[in-house]
Amino acid sequence: MSAPVIRYIDEPHPVTGVTNGKFGLWLFLASEVMLFGALFSSYILLRVGAKSWPDGWERLNVPLATANTVVLITSSVTMVMAWVGCKLNDLGKFRFYMGITVALSFVFLVIKTIEYKPKFEHYQVYFYDGATIPGYEELTTITGHLEEDDFEKDYIVFAPDKKQPSQTLPDAEGHGDHDHAEGDHDDHGHGHYADPIQINRYDIKRLTNFGPAHSNFYAIYFTMTGLHGLHVIGGIVVNLYFLLFGAGMFRSNIAQFSNRIECAGLYWHFVDLVWIFLFPSIYLL
């Protein structure tokens, strides 16, 4: 029983002018636009409805994100060059550029990890009204490093940042907060922390790191860049597959193989494009 012959796999349909694969990929991208479109809409809605919203460039690491933008755009260029390698029937060229594309994708993820990590290690404590913390009597919230959080004890040990969020606003999310509350631009040596203090648990309204749970700003930031990161991982899987196992098809059916690389490239450019939207709207606004 032989497999049925399906048309327009490697030659374009005379009327639509595209192959099945490319048509399907465009439809998939349309669906992806709806997915990220819904997230961007949610971002706009939450931000417009918020009492206050921090400025992205103060809270997030713009230099790292800029570096990542360059990395991703470069990888889009090398992706095209890999496709050119297919079109020129030059396996060496394909492998060289596809290799760079995959390597750059990994670089993107590594930089992302460096960007994420300090946010999970940096904490903020909110106090109940009337709680007085020695040395910080006027504050309702302080940020810093969580030295000890032992559930057996009824206090935590906390090393506050030397620079604390602005006093004028009830919480650290205010626009008046121009002192790098989260400390991304600082190195995280102990030189930036004041002496550790003990805070009684019954004074603590809320204790959170600067992860997704901190506030909607961080929730949006982690969800959208995280979902984008998953798309990068998906791209790595596909591109790595073509790089490692593509040689057979490269030799036997170069036309279909370059179609596949073209489709993978379309997807990769889309991932790039999402980042081009994410970078200004989350990091720079």
Partner: protein, 576 residues
């Protein structure tokens, strides 16, 4: 068949991980029928609690154990789980996979003369993502705290509470699987319909069923991703402690919620209904397509107003994206939005009415054959009519305020989906069964199934209109707690007994479905004397479908053409 050839794919590749659209279609059909039966079982248990709120359910306790019952009484939490999972299973695991995954997969490529779908492996992946998604949903019954219990709409902040219980989290994870599956399916459908139509089959020669599947695929492709986004956000709320849907100052169980706040519960509703309204048309369009096929075939005349049907379906698909907030009149979203969505809702009823009218007018002057598929298709028409007309008061904010969240709403949408869509899907099963198996289903058992189903479905849902107009809320665990509920409790009992009898009425169908595999009358290629392309293939069609590639010479419904020797002129036969 070439069973003894050396490159025979073997049992696993042929029946389990098959890339043949027909096998996948059958896998979808059987799986979704099982899910439908399961979801129906859940609601039969619910109906026991509703009819006899203080009843002794020791016999159920022996089956379900401590998790759902205490001393013979059903726990309210368990009742809520049944309700939430009934809705989810029926919509996402039952009707849509049957209508699109089952019928779409099996019939559509045959009707366009294609040897298979454009992406056979993707098609297989679609089923093998759907099945784990369904199993994840079911598995949530066995975790601590039980399955999701916040309704099939999973409204936050309620659905975000109790993140320590896995039920709702598994619901969300299962949902992401199902969305992925339908994404793969819809891409495949659209590409197949656009690229793989056989020679001569222009868009306006496509059977109405293919058009319905085509538009349905666009709805699935574009409406599901926003729900996926919402699902990811709710998952973050539950797992990572974010506040996408958690407003400021939220108090849960008398204590301030330990979250950042600042989120927006309405955001979920907007994103959810942005999917779930087009989803209604995903449920109904394939059903309309099936009814169109069956009616044209059994009236022995062309569908009345084929082009208006097609244009209406396209318009319906487009409009379905801009009516979603008519589910949200009671949320306080404001007058301006209400007016907009009332207007679009009234507009979308126009193409629906055109379609139904065209189908009814198709009967006029026909020489109708009252076989089993036709009986189901004919009863679809008034049932869908009732479902549609009872929806009008819900589409206008002024009357919706009275009816919102009452049993009236349940009655309305069940009339569309259960007596409506399910009737059409049964018609489709009886109609294409001979194509898929090479044998007819039993006529006598079929008629028994039809009359029982028709009577008891109405018995289940008509009382709900009465209850709803009396003001009984749809989520009550015991409506006799209230005076106004007590007055209509008799209707609830009648509805419950109808539901249980409806279960019994399905026995002839189940018997028929399996017994006819062996005992059914053998048929040739075209037992119904139909005109569309699937009847050009052998029954059942082999891998690759057609013995030789068909060519299309005419429109899809050329029945009783004057001057022809037969009363049907198939698309694939050249005029002498």
């Amino acid at each position: 068949m070439s069973d003894h050839e050396h490159h025979d794919p073997g049992f696993i590749r042929k029946y389990v991980f098959s890339v043949d659209h027909k096998v996948i279609g059958i896998q979808y059909t059987v799986t979704s029928l099982l899910f439908l039966l399961f979801g129906f079982g859940l609601m039969m248990i619910m109906r026991a609690q509703l009819a006899y709120p203080q009843g002794d359910f020791s016999f159920l306790e022996r089956i379900f154990g401590e998790a759902g019952f205490v001393g013979g009484a059903m726990l309210p939490e368990f009742y809520n789980q049944l309700g939430a999972m009934h809705g989810t299973i029926m919509v996402f695991l039952g009707v849509v996979p049957l209508a699109v995954g089952g019928f779409g997969n099996y019939v559509m490529p045959l009707q366009i003369g294609a040897p298979d779908m454009a992406f056979p492996k993707l098609n297989m992946a679609s089923y093998w993502v759907y099945l784990p998604g369904g199993l994840i949903m079911l598995s949530s019954f066995f975790v601590e705290g039980g399955a999701a219990q916040y309704g099939w709409t999973a409204y936050p902040p309620l659905a975000n509470t109790q993140p320590e219980y896995l039920g709702q989290t598994l619901w969300l994870v299962g949902m992401v699987f199902l969305i992925t599956s339908s994404l793969l399916g819809s891409v495949n459908f659209i590409v197949t319909i656009v690229q793989l139509r056989v020679k001569g089959l222009s868009f306006f020669r496509l059977p109405f069923f293919v058009w319905a599947q085509f538009i349905t695929s666009f709805l699935l492709l574009l409406a599901f991703p926003p729900l996926e986004a919402a699902g990811v956000m709710q998952l973050m709320d539950r797992v990572a402690g974010t506040s996408f849907f958690m407003p400021d100052g939220l108090v849960i169980g008398g204590r301030p919620a330990n979250v950042a706040g600042g989120g927006n519960p309405l955001l979920w509703q907007h994103l959810f209904w942005f999917l779930a309204h087009p989803e209604v048309y995903v449920l109904i369009l394939p059903a309309l397509g099936i009814v169109g096929e069956v009616i044209a075939n059994n009236t022995r005349k062309p569908l009345w107003g084929y082009r208006s049907l097609v244009y209406s379906v396209i318009f319906l698909g487009f409009m379905s994206f801009i009516v979603w907030a008519h589910h949200m009149f009671m949320t306080g979203m404001g007058q301006t939005l209400s007016i907009f969505f009332q207007t679009t809702t009234m507009i979308i009823s126009i193409p629906s009415v055109i379609i139904l009218t065209a189908l009814i007018l198709s009967l006029w002057g026909g020489s109708i054959r009252f076989n089993v598929p036709m009986l189901f298709a004919l009863s679809f028409l008034p049932m869908f009519g009732i479902g549609g007309l009872t929806g009008l008061p819900l589409g206008l904010a002024a009357s919706d305020i009275q009816l919102h969240d009452t049993y009236y709403v349940i009655g309305h949408f069940h009339f569309v989906v259960a007596p409506g869509t399910l009737m059409a899907l049964f018609a489709g099963i009886y109609y294409w069964y001979p194509k898929a198996t090479g044998r007819m289903m039993n006529e006598m058992l079929g008629k028994l199934h039809w009359i029982g189903t028709l009577v008891f479905l109405n018995g289940v849902f008509i009382p709900m209109f009465v209850q709803g107009l009396a003001g009984v809320s749809r989520r009550l665990y015991d409506q006799t707690w209230y005076e106004h509920g007590k007055e209509v409790q008799n209707w609830t009992v009648a509805s419950s007994w109808s539901a249980w009898l409806l279960g019994i009425a399905q026995i002839p169908f189940i018997l028929n479905f399996f017994l006819s595999l062996r005992a059914g009358k053998k048929v040739g290629e075209n037992p119904w004397h139909a005109t569309t392309l699937e009847w050009a293939a052998p029954s059942p069609p082999p891998h690759g479908n057609f013995t030789s590639e068909p060519v299309v010479y005419r429109g899809p419904y050329e029945y009783s053409v004057p001057g022809d020797s037969e009363d049907y002129s198939p698309q694939f036969v050249q005029k002498a």
